[in-house]
């Protein structure tokens, strides 16, 4: 079979000592980049590009892919240990991951994140290998109406993230939508809600809001008393630092959920890992037997989004390699790199440069293994961070937040925004407004509005375009179902009560 021979060829290329070394370097760099909030794979890859011109293309590709993967693995570390999201998709990991750390299961959370990432990442690579070309056609069928439906599905997750007060969750989401709308309107160049400030023309960066609301909000909350809120002591012994059998069993469905959702959403150019993480988390919560426990530190709440995040990598490679269309910021730069080296991604790439394509695929497998091996022993090391006394740890978190935000935009204005959002995060905690819907609204609001307006432009104002196409109609139906879940649950609970 062609695939197997290609894969063998690829492994032959990828398993040379030189390429293993480059893979390792890439993974290592990527992990560090991922741990740092703010600084992301696109910037790192762009900065390293000139260096790669001296290398042979296959090795360079392997290294850059390693960075891409490594960053995904690394991003979960600060989310879990410090409630500082490393990049947009890691926000969802903060929800249960940080709580697990607070409960003394930080090491286990890191382990689950690594395992979920490995399973999902491998799944993504396998799917890429087996079904890339037909999937590419699927990606093309997806256009603005389908994106709109997808975003609706994502926003409907608010309903599942709501907690006690649906009204407050919706209000938080609306504020998120408002912040997302700030800046220059793409279609008319009209500037909205910029308060006359040129710095707001591009809107407010997600990183600023996420780090402010999550990380700073959390730290400020802990400053209420001098002793602060004690984190449960990190258990001793390697066995206690890794996930135990129960936790792993609880994650069985989550591993599958994350892999599939992440990969499918990754294929769509423009839809990102954040949407994938939220939807995967939402689905996990919807099918769970104990949904009310989500947000207090359940392992599946970490496994699902982390898996989705990683599977998305494999998915994003599909349109890039088979059509030459980048699926995300990182793949856009990878694509530029390929072109600079004289390689031409597209349907002909597999025929013209088989050793590159299969070498890349093989190295993605190897990369996943390397990252798993790298990350597991590092867990006890990272867990030590939790042992630092609060008066050292919390100022460091403030510092990392500042560095993270500044590294994205070099803007002191963004730092003053960060300060404001820190206070907002604290107020939200005090007043019991859930934070996740705010982030969800912020991430999806812009894309959803764009998709809706693009769709209506395509149909000349005809709303039926949203339901006449099978894919978008299907997703809107799913959205309606998701919205119905809490009502269904309430009705059920009512019935149970009536029976007593």
């Amino acid at each position: 079979m062609e695939i197997f021979s290609g894969l063998l060829q690829g492994f032959a290329v990828a398993l040379t000592p030189v390429n293993i070394m480059w893979c390792f370097i890439g993974c290592f760099l990527g992990t560090i980049v991922g741990i740092l909030p703010g600084l992301g794979p696109p910037a790192t890859i762009a900065m390293l590009l000139p260096l790669t011109f001296q290398m042979n293309p296959t090795s360079a590709v392997i290294m850059l892919a390693g960075i891409y993967y490594g960053a995904k693995y690394g991003g979960s570390t600060t989310s879990i240990l410090l409630n500082v999201p490393g990049e947009s998709a890691s926000v969802v990991t903060c929800l249960d991951g940080y709580q697990m750390a607070r409960n003394g299961r930080g090491g286990a959370a890191l382990g689950i994140a690594a395992i979920a990432s490995f399973i999902a990442g491998t799944f993504g690579v396998i799917m890429l290998m087996l079904v890339a070309p037909p999937l590419a056609k699927f990606a093309l069928a997806f256009s603005s109406p389908e994106y709109f439906a997808l975003m609706c599905m994502g926003l409907a997750m608010v309903v599942l993230l709501a907690g006690k007060s649906m009204v407050k969750a919706l209000l938080a989401m609306l504020v998120g939508l408002w912040i997302a709308g700030m800046g220059t309107d793409l279609f008319t160049a009209e500037s909205r809600f910029t308060f006359g400030q040129a710095e707001l023309l591009d809107g407010i960066d997600f990183v600023v809001v996420a780090i402010g609301v999550f990380a700073l909000g959390e730290v400020l909350g802990n400053m209420e008393t001098r002793e602060g809120v004690a984190m449960l002591p990190v258990p001793k012994g390697l066995r206690n630092l890794l996930p135990n059998v129960e936790e792993l069993k609880a994650c069985r469905f989550a591993f599958l959920n994350g892999s599939v959702v992440g990969f499918i959403i990754g294929i769509l150019p423009g839809a990102g890992s954040t949407v994938a993480s939220f939807i995967s988390y939402g689905i996990e919560k919807a099918v769970s037997k104990h949904p009310e426990k989500f947000g207090t530190g359940v392992p599946e709440g970490v496994a699902a989004p982390e898996g989705a995040n990683n599977a998305e990598t494999g998915g994003a490679m599909v349109p890039m390699l088979t059509l030459g269309i980048p699926g995300s910021g990182t793949t856009a730069i990878l694509l530029a790199a390929f072109i600079l080296w004289g390689l031409k991604p597209g349907p002909l790439m597999i025929q013209d440069n088989p050793e590159l394509f299969w070498g890349l695929v093989a190295s993605m497998y190897i990369g996943n293994v390397i990252l798993l091996i790298l990350n597991i022993p590092l867990i006890p090391l990272f867990a030590q961070i939790l042992k630092l006394p609060q008066y050292v740890l919390y100022p460091i978190i403030f510092g990392i937040s500042v560095v993270g935000v500044y590294s994205v935009s070099d803007s002191l204005f963004d730092l003053s925004l960060l300060t404001f959002f820190g206070l907002l995060g604290y107020c939200m905690r005090k007043l019991d407004y859930p934070q996740a819907p705010l982030i969800l609204g912020l991430v999806l609001g812009d894309a959803m509005e764009r998709a809706l307006r693009q769709s209506l432009m395509m149909s000349q104002g005809d709303l039926s375009i949203l339901v006449s196409r099978p894919l978008s109609a299907g997703m809107l139906v799913l959205t309606a179902l998701v919205l119905a879940v809490p009502m269904f649950r309430k009705a059920n609970a009512w019935r149970m009560k009536a029976i007593d």
């Binding site: 997806f142 040129a198 395509m458």
Partner: protein, 326 residues
């Protein structure tokens, strides 16, 4: 007495002449050069700036380092206001692009226009290509326009923001032919191409580089090229005027600009410096690889060009119904 005056006069003249020469040779960079770009790492201007600094380093054209700094935001507005704060600075220059001209036209918040800064040289102009899907019924630009005439407002083009070249070319064509078709903005090149390849829009304007790969695998067809004269790589494709539509050739340009009040000797230095860069073989190869055109213009030419260019954009955008602020 007269002799003394004559001698004094000639000595003074000699000194003045030499001083003038010394002043003209006067500016030499002594600190690292800050080379600003308004895109993030990997973006169009960023890659160009890095290519330039690589060439400069290889050919040792400067005694000091050239450091590329990214000041992103507002499509150039952040970089422009940063530059405008460095009045009189001689070691900071920036790479500008179309958005530096168009952005301030459409944005109330912009406080700096290109005229406020010191134009130095124009470096490249970038041609574009008008493409359709390979299985599209349109074999020429005329076919598309004819179809647009039959169903006004029904055909669709994907592209960037409304101030981009994509839309300006569209406005010029529509006005010239009296037709109308819709324009749908997508923030990323990938999404625009996906819309075209997926059949959701019928036509788009692309960079020749972008189109290159799709041509090779046969998924796209080029109807016309937007360039002064036919590109060497596309000898059989008519330019838009050759295809029968006499619209002005609206260019995508990149050039170098300095902070306001840059001293004259520094401007002259940079003008001569970039003229040297533009003559190197490495630069010519870079242009050929990226399918750019050598659009070198001296300072004087650039100043005139910016006026014409700004007016062109202003007229087209106003006609298109965009709010113009200056």
């Amino acid at each position: 007495m007269v002799k003394r005056i004559l001698i004094a006069g000639s000595v003074a003249a000699l000194v003045a002449a030499n001083a003038g020469e010394v002043a003209a040779q006067g500016f030499k960079p002594t600190r690292p050069i800050e080379f600003l770009v308004h895109t993030g790492p990997g973006g169009g201007n960023d890659l160009l700036a890095r290519a330039i600094s690589n060439i400069v380093e290889k050919e040792k054209l400067l005694p000091v380092r050239m450091q590329v700094t990214n000041k992103t935001g507002g499509g150039g507005i952040t970089a422009m206001s940063y530059l405008s704060e460095k009045k009189g600075e001689t070691h900071t220059i920036a790479l500008f692009a179309n958005t530096w001209v168009n952005g301030p036209l459409m944005s109330k918040e912009a406080k700096v226009t290109l005229k406020d800064l010191t134009p130095i040289v124009r470096l490249v102009t970038e041609p574009g290509v008008i493409v359709v899907k390979a299985d599209s019924p349109y074999k020429s630009l005329k076919d598309f326009i004819d179809d647009a005439k039959k169903q006004p407002g029904q055909l669709k083009q994907s592209g960037g923001s409304i101030g981009s070249r994509d839309n300006i070319v569209r406005q010029l064509l529509m006005k010239n032919t009296g037709t109308q078709w819709a324009y749908i903005s997508f923030p990323g090149g990938g999404e625009r191409r996906a819309a075209l390849l997926g059949g959701h829009v019928q036509i788009m304007v692309m960079d020749p580089q972008e189109a290159g790969e799709h041509l090779r695998n046969g998924s796209l067809r080029i109807l016309a090229q937007i360039a002064e004269k036919r590109m060497a790589s596309l000898p059989d494709v008519p330019t838009v005027p050759e295809a029968g539509f006499n619209i002005p050739n609206y260019l995508v340009i990149r050039g170098v600009v300095g902070p306001p009040d840059m001293p004259a000797e520094a401007v002259k230095f940079w003008e001569a410096f970039f003229a040297k860069v533009a003559k190197t073989a490495a630069w010519k190869k870079y242009l050929a690889d990226n399918l750019f055109e050598d659009g070198f213009q001296t300072t004087a030419e650039l100043v005139k060009f910016v006026d014409v260019f700004t007016e062109q954009a202003r007229t087209v955008l106003k006609d298109a119904g965009v709010k113009i602020y200056r």
